[in-house]
């Protein structure tokens, strides 16, 4: 007695392909939507802060102080505007006219020329902390540029710290966002696809037909997942095409490794969908559950935006059961850093484990439901 008959699984898969071909909506959803979203978000989500209005109050008004202000302008991040008084600069910050203010007191040029500590005040609007952090991140570069330009002695810094950003020298946030976004979209769609398929059979009553034949749960699950794996791989292909050609996101790692990682991730998500479908048996409920379980954790807890390392311990451990967290790490590692299988052993193994766990859960639940 065999426990799995590939011919029966193939019959289910063939039928599923027919459903997909008959319903172009699914095809468009999986192949088109990720591309559209990546393009959309690729343009909209930009953590690089530019063209910030900077209120400049320069009481010193010497050559040195004007040079400092001009360095801010030439950095490309700031648009300096003259403020008539410190109070005017503060009002500008209050009203949101300025994102930051630069106050230079009299004596700045004199102190600088003497080699004494010369002081400027820099005020940042902290309302939007990601913007504020970006602004503060620009400061060291600007300060050193200003020092060079004013010709002031650089002896103040006994240990010169040379910083270089590896893999993404310009810190282009699209390189970071787009691969991550692809992970989230592909994950959500995968869950959604299979979550509906089994529930649909229950709702239509066609599950009765399947049950009255010698078809086994494992054959149904395999037949239901297989076509969507191919579909999802197609979606990933197009997303990567757009990321590379449209946004110049590099791909530095190995394609086979990325493919295997994608396969594991897709399998894990599709299995999660099957679990949802088997439990709910209703399309409406399955849809809601997959939106919640597929979108929220991956958006917030996968490291897509907020680094996993800086989460509170509970959430840090909780993320370990989320497949997007692991694939996020792997996908970014492979595409941007060119990481190899050995570097990514942990996330890849975790994906394998989650995949096996979800498949087993789907199978167990299905088996107890279907087999009398």
């Amino acid at each position: 007695m065999t426990f799995f008959d590939p011919r029966r699984a193939a019959a289910v898969a063939r039928k599923e392909v027919m459903h997909i071909l008959r319903d172009p909506f699914t095809l468009v959803l999986v192949l088109g939507l990720p591309v559209v979203l990546v393009v959309f978000f690729g343009f909209a989500i930009d953590f690089d802060v530019k063209n910030l209005r900077l209120g400049v109050y320069d009481r010193d008004n010497t050559r040195h102080s004007r040079q400092v202000a001009s360095v801010f302008e030439s950095s490309g991040y700031f648009l300096p505007e003259g403020a008539s008084s410190p109070a005017d600069a503060a009002r500008g910050l209050d009203s949101g006219r300025y994102s930051a203010a630069l106050l230079i007191e009299p004596g700045f040029g004199r102190d600088l020329g003497r080699g004494a500590p010369a002081r400027v005040q820099f005020i940042v609007d902290g309302t939007d902390n990601s913007k504020a952090q970006a602004v503060l991140g620009y400061l060291p570069g600007i300060t050193s540029a200003a020092l060079r330009k004013t010709g002031a002695p650089a002896a103040a810094d006994p240990v010169p710290l040379a910083t270089r950003y590896m893999y993404n020298p310009e810190l282009n946030s699209r390189w970071f966002v787009i691969p991550g976004l692809a992970v989230i979209i592909i994950g959500l769609l995968s869950i959604l696809m299979t979550a509906l398929t089994v529930a649909r059979e229950w709702e239509n009553g066609s599950m009765e037909l399947l049950l009255s034949t010698p078809l086994r749960p494992a054959e149904i699950i395999a037949g239901k997942i297989a076509p969507y794996v191919l579909l999802v791989l197609g979606g990933v292909f197009f997303v990567n095409l757009v990321a590379r050609l449209g946004f110049g996101v590099p791909f530095r790692g190995s394609h086979p490794l990325f493919l295997s990682g994608t396969l594991l991730f897709a399998l894990a998500c599709l299995s999660q969908g099957i679990v949802i479908s088997v439990i709910t048996r209703q399309q409406q409920l399955a849809m809601q559950l997959s939106m919640i379980s597929g979108l929220l954790p991956s958006l917030l807890l996968s490291g897509f935006i907020f680094p996993v390392e800086s989460m509170p311990p509970f959430f840090r451990y909780f993320t370990m059961i989320l497949s997007p967290r692991w694939f996020m790490e792997a996908a970014r590692g492979i595409t941007i850093r060119g990481a190899g299988a050995a570097d990514l052993a942990l996330p890849l193994l975790a994906l394998c484990g989650l995949c096996a766990l979800l498949l087993a859960a789907a199978f167990r639940k299905f088996k107890t439901d279907l087999e009398p």
Partner: protein, 308 residues
Amino acid sequence: MNGGPALEARDLTIKFGDFTAVDGVTFSVERGEIFGFLGANGAGKTTTIRTLCGLLVPTRGEARVGGLDFSDGGRGIKGKVGYMSQKFTLYNDLTVGENLDFAAGLRKLDPAYARRRREELFSLIAFDRPLSTMVSSLPGGVKQELSLAAAMLHDPEIVFLDEPTAGVSPASRARFWELIREVTGLGKTVLVTTHYMDEAEQCGRIALMRTGKLIALDSPAGLKSAAFPGPMVELDFGGPAPATALEGLGRAPGLLELSPHGMRWHAAFAGGREMEAALAGLPAGTGRREIPPSLEDVFIRLVEGAER
């Protein structure tokens, strides 16, 4: 096959938790028979059929279907039977050909054999539309016939039909029953559940079910003569029946059954003498006509009477 009964159930009991859906049912069905299940909703007809198809395992008791038991979880039985459930189970978004190919794939039928069976079944159900017809575009009766063909593609010995004619037109119902007779003519055994009395009349034997129990099992004629050994009359009072007349009838000795049928009443008696005595007391001008009892009368007497 060894020539034994197509199907046997002994003390078949199926429980869902505390609820007993089928309670100690015993019967056997001969090969080539049309065996009907008649009963109200929730009487246990569908549960019995689903069990005999191998979809449920009996909680207690035994069943042998096509000579096989449940020792393998019903898998062997599934190979020998065809099942058409209450709900329409074909896929509306697939074509006729794709649906049948899928059914054949699930049964691992050889493609050439599946094609031959398809042609045989198409001629049986007189289906002459192209294979590329979308199932969603077929009329209800044709859909049901196609479901039957899909359930019979693997040439099962026994065919289970759970309310096969629910929701189709009267003409399609009649045609479907002709089809059922043709199927048994091919040596198949058919078990069918129905709500319709006229359909039950066409069964070889009928199992009458109530709250999970088998309360009667016989041919339609046998059920009638067992329930109504004496004569039955239809009374027409020419309008609403006078309460006094009904009261008098109700007290008459030997009255077996008195039930309204539209504006008329059916009264059944233990014998001819009792009938004459009771009818003598009715107002003049009351129309009376001796009628053969219908299955509906039997159903009312056996199923609803037991509830009173």
